[in-house]
Symmetry: C2
Subunit: 396 residues, 2 copies
Amino acid sequence: MSNAPSPTPDHAGIDDHGGSPFPIVGILGGGQLGRMMAAAALPLGVQVRFYQDDDTGPSSAAAHVITAPWDDVEALRRFLDGCDVVTLDNEWVDLRTIVELLPEGVHLWPSSNTMALVSDKGRQKDHARALGLPVGSYRVCEDLDAALRAGQELGYPLVAKRPRHSYDGYGNRTVRDEADLRAAHAGLAGEDGRLLLEAFVDFVRELAVVVARRPGGEDVVYPVAATVQRDHRCDAVEVPAPVSAAVIEGAAELARRAAAAYDCVGAVGVELFELHDGTLLLNEIAPRPHNSGHYTIDACITSQFENHLRAVLDLPLGSPALVRPAAVMVNVLGHREGSSSAASLARALSVPTASIHLYGKHHVRPGRKMGHVTAIADTLDDARAIARKAADRLRL
Amino acid sequence: MSNAPSPTPDHAGIDDHGGSPFPIVGILGGGQLGRMMAAAALPLGVQVRFYQDDDTGPSSAAAHVITAPWDDVEALRRFLDGCDVVTLDNEWVDLRTIVELLPEGVHLWPSSNTMALVSDKGRQKDHARALGLPVGSYRVCEDLDAALRAGQELGYPLVAKRPRHSYDGYGNRTVRDEADLRAAHAGLAGEDGRLLLEAFVDFVRELAVVVARRPGGEDVVYPVAATVQRDHRCDAVEVPAPVSAAVIEGAAELARRAAAAYDCVGAVGVELFELHDGTLLLNEIAPRPHNSGHYTIDACITSQFENHLRAVLDLPLGSPALVRPAAVMVNVLGHREGSSSAASLARALSVPTASIHLYGKHHVRPGRKMGHVTAIADTLDDARAIARKAADRLRL
């Protein structure tokens, strides 16, 4: 159904608690992360409000949505008025106007400082290295010549990334030789010509850890997950990661240090590489609920989305403990271009122990995250079989 | 914030799927059960829409709410237009107009036939007895004289109930003698003078079982719970009930038979008495998600709310299995009259393994259900201690 913002009478109502004693969290961006925040807000009595520039997205299920351009000062003012705190659904939001309009005493979490440090992946890496966090070799190249020099220094193959707005296989490419690199620079470099080159890391597996962190630094660390990538996209997440206790401990500690290094508040996704000798390298962090933490909705006492809300509201954090020994989350990606379809839902639901999550996206395109499936069980094998079976039946 | 229905542009948008492929469930009534249905609908991609006659209630968090009187034909038409199925938040909704307006092919679940059989507790008992379901002795008394005769036949003490609109200690009273009975009749009898008298049942404990049932009769039965009552109100629910395997089996089977006897579709709460010899008696059924099943949100693979939505949409049902060996749910009731407050939320959240559920009610009154707390653990003792600790900290 249409979720177009309704006119003034409704939005007049948005501008105060209307006698409600419950806190209001403003969410910038209307994607699936915001939608899952909204689901987590309901039991807490927390009210959420979305600001988005597109009304066909997942947040359409929320009570209060303003759809307007990111630079619509009047609409942003209406959105901000009455919010107790403001948070993000994604890191692509242009925060400049919002930071100027933020009312006295209303925090934006993650802060604009944190976002400035992480949203450019070159700057994010520089900051990690400056603070002594272990990262692989990389170069931030200002132009093609610098990139070609870096290619010789780092050696091939390597991974080329657009410094901004690269995610889920968009803006990333593996580069095997100089010709590849020229093509990558032409295709990926930002408008400023900058390109991030990362030396190929010969890792055993990729790990991911979600940390939830309050303004004062109190945090909880979720179980260490192994992420299974396909085409630079997260295909599945398996918990607990099948690694040694030492690696688990090291990964959890590195994740905590990383979340603190960027002064993150809220949920933070920390991606790591595990090398053959057990060494851990920091890959990337995202200062928000993370795809690698979607399993926490069904598998943990407190989900990453609930702890994100608790953290940005500076409320005590809940337990990240698993409720069953093992959990597997499988992403459901689009396979075609067009209007999405829920016709396959019944077949997926006929796997009785799978937990199906659809994001309510009206449009599908190849590789777009349309939903996910989680299964919890006594073993990873059992959880994997259940989640995969249901996910394979979904064709959105 | 205000949840007043917004004017035409928004409600025009309510009248079709607006290109969304996801089913729309219309919910009559805007209480906490509807709110928890809305939370369960989000991951499924199912859209919910509320019709209520009061805009300060729990459903205020939903995207699409129409607030209008139950007999507003024009508003009801707008609400029904586009719904794939219609269900109930409570059994007090006057269905007469709705049934007349229901579009071709759009089902109301539970059906008006089911509601006619259960909403009058005298008729509900007559139906159970007629179908051979075990019920205690009772009389439906047409007037005071009949009630006094029934008192002599059934003996004192007995329980007097208003045949309609009695719940949670409202409209129920224990009657110890004839004077009590005269007072009870004066206070409880419906406008038609009718009063339901039930012989006092000397039970060991009260049990409750939630069944979810599809139109074709496919069902799932949730674990058998023990309910702890205080002042005719449900104080706590403990799962699994500490009873013999035979009683578990008998209770589950009786609950299934009861749900079928009333042709229920959706989640059904079935309340039972366990007698000293292990005999089970049917107490009451409610053809909707039930307070005794709130634990399923945090403690089961699929919650009663998700299975209610699946059932009314005639989709495959999910597993009702517990994710941990034990679960305890404690109701959070109002202790005063006035505007509610979330000031105690932080103290409750500081019990890290408790799951807090607030219903978003703006107004509190003594005995009103304001929320609940669930804890899951390896033992009932552990779960009870956690849930009670957090619930005791909530003063809404």
